[in-house]
Symmetry: C2
Subunit: 341 residues, 2 copies
DNA sequence: TGCTCCATCCAAATCGTTTTAAATTTTCAC
DNA sequence: GTGAAAATTTAAAACGATTTGGATGGAGCA
């Protein structure tokens, strides 16, 4: 069913019908109503590609999906979908086929110049991220999920990683812990740096010497969590508490602690960051896990919203949003154990 | 830069240029070469939306992304991307915003009738899957990743879940195990049923009584693996071996086994299915994990390929592909321990 | 040279919308 | 009842490609 045919059935011109459906003010409310109803009844829907051609809009937002598996895209994208549901906008994903950094730039480049998307979302940025410079240069609107320190102006949405980890660490210090290990995300990423900073600040505030042997960086996996925790626990004196970058990492830490015959929450305290997944909840862990919490899903929804604002003309330099992070105490944190008398 | 302008610069007509770029035979090789080179040099790229309008093709494949997190979309999609890289085809994801089943049908419906995609891929099908009937009715080409028992003709790519689990279970029986627990995927999904079948067949072949108390169904998470394993291990006599549906589940099982003071590979044998993720490898687990292995990434690549075949006219009824699954023995499987003398 | 036949190349129609600029109808004060 | 202003509606021109049906020019042959 084409517009022309549909309009004829209604006894109107294509123009009026098009306007009615797009909600323009030039068409009377009565007509608008009628057109809307008939469209549903007769099943008329504008050909999306014709619309795209004539308006010059792609009607899609691009997301490049890394392979590391550390970032839970499904959760974030569900959030985006929630917001985009009412709009007529798609999510286009470009999975990174290879790890190669140059390929990645090429991928962004192609995405930006292909006309397939109206905007792009960048994840896991670095302080000086090439992608930001690239997209800016190409004039493609984009939102950074996270932050960067580049001079290039960019819209961003980030959570307060620094504050979250500072508070978590401070809390552990309050509980009497002095040797606090930190298993952070991949080195070089902005959020890892922010977390490092929060950690060090908390230590510094209380006059505790920073010990680089207590900090590790890497992917957010159970496996790495286990390995790092395992090796930290072999130190003497060993750490009495862990700050972890993710729920996966925490699982690995739990495993490592148990494998040493120790008990989480009594011998070893653990706080991890929780992105809130439906299938892995801090409350259900044994013992339940103290967390710094911020919903990735909510971030996805808000990201979509901000991108829409960006597309409707709000300047990127105005779009900066920093979300506070909750600290939720559960069973995995407790006072530092007294050394065997 | 538009086609018209580009053609003028070359001193050719738009027709010839278009044909040259699309590789039609009516244009001489020399001209084709020249056009291709100049296109790169001058940066001419056909407007994708104009192409879409005039050809009627959307140039995209739709994937509906569930929220369960059990299915590793990034890995599968990377595979797809690998194959689609050379084609000019996008991947459109529609994350499921809610869990509601009716909403899901609506989502597929909208996707199919919106003209945004040329084909759809269905994941985690059930034996009698509504989505298959729906897409068939709507005349939207689709590939099922997995299988269904519906009469509706459909193209599919699946791995031999039944055979894989049958072999895994048989192997455990060969090692002397008699009480073998099975932690399977969500109840009702075809692949879970196939795995159940393989498990029961293996038992039946050796005259071992099937015990429903040794089988559990659920999402592929560490957490559920832990819980199920934990409760199985409380039985008396307890199982001496586990067959698990995923690597995550296996992690949970390892945890549960350790928490009972038992040792994987000696007291308890474990075999799990491995979809081959870059960040969680069976070899790196401690002890290394015996697996039934099939690369999800490869499945993604092949899926894309099959969809392209479907789109170029190959009948869906011809596209049925069943992949064998490797059984790889590592340290987590061993002979059944002798009962304490 | 004249003719046919290929290999190339081209003009114009088409895809299904949105939108500009203009025409028509309605409303309302006098 | 008239005329101007306001409210509706419309015809036709984009948008930027692909593709149909012809046109053109040169090679091959007598």
């Amino acid at each position: 069913m084409k517009l022309k045919e549909f309009a004829k059935q209604l006894g109107l011109s294509p123009t009026t019908v098009s306007r009615a459906l797009s909600g323009y003010p030039e068409v009377s409310e009565k007509t608008r109503q009628r057109v809307a109803e008939e469209a549903v009844r007769l099943g008329y829907r504008p050909n999306i590609n014709a619309v795209r051609l004539v308006t010059g809009r792609a009607g899609a937002i691009g997301v490049v999906m890394g392979r590391s598996g550390e970032f839970q895209f499904s959760e974030y994208m569900s959030g985006m979908a929630e917001r985009l549901d009412s709009e007529d906008i798609d999510i286009l994903v470009s999975p990174l086929a290879e790890q190669d950094g140059k390929n990645e730039n090429q991928l962004y480049s192609r995405l930006a110049t292909s006309g397939r998307v109206d905007a792009v979302i960048i994840h896991s940025p670095m302080p000086n991220d090439e992608r930001i410079a690239l997209l800016h240069r190409l004039g493609m609107p984009f939102l950074v999920h996270g932050r960067s320190e580049t001079q290039v102006p960019h819209a961003w949405l980030d959570i307060d990683n620094e504050g979250a980890i500072r508070r978590a660490t401070s809390h552990l210090i309050d509980l009497g812990h002095r040797r606090i290990a930190m298993i952070n995300g991949r080195a070089g990423l902005t959020f890892s740096l922010h977390r490092d900073k929060g950690y060090r600040e908390a230590l510094a505030q209380r006059g505790i010497q920073f010990d680089p042997r207590l900090v590790a960086h890497g992917h957010f996996t159970d496996e790495l969590g286990f390995r790092f925790a395992r090796s930290f626990l072999e130190q003497s004196p060993r750490p009495t508490a862990f700050v972890a970058g993710s729920m996966m990492t925490a699982l690995g830490i739990y495993r490592a602690v148990r494998s040493r015959g120790l008990v989480v929450g009594r011998d070893i305290s653990v706080i991890a960051h929780d992105d809130v997944f439906p299938y892995l909840t801090a409350d259900n862990m044994v013992p339940s896990l103290s967390t710094t919490r911020s919903s990735l899903r909510a971030a996805g929804a808000r990201s979509a919203d901000l991108v829409l604002q960006l597309l409707s003309g709000r300047p990127a330099t105005e779009i900066h949003e920093l979300w506070p992070v909750e600290l939720i105490l559960r069973e995995s944190t407790g006072p530092v154990p007294q050394p065997a008398a």
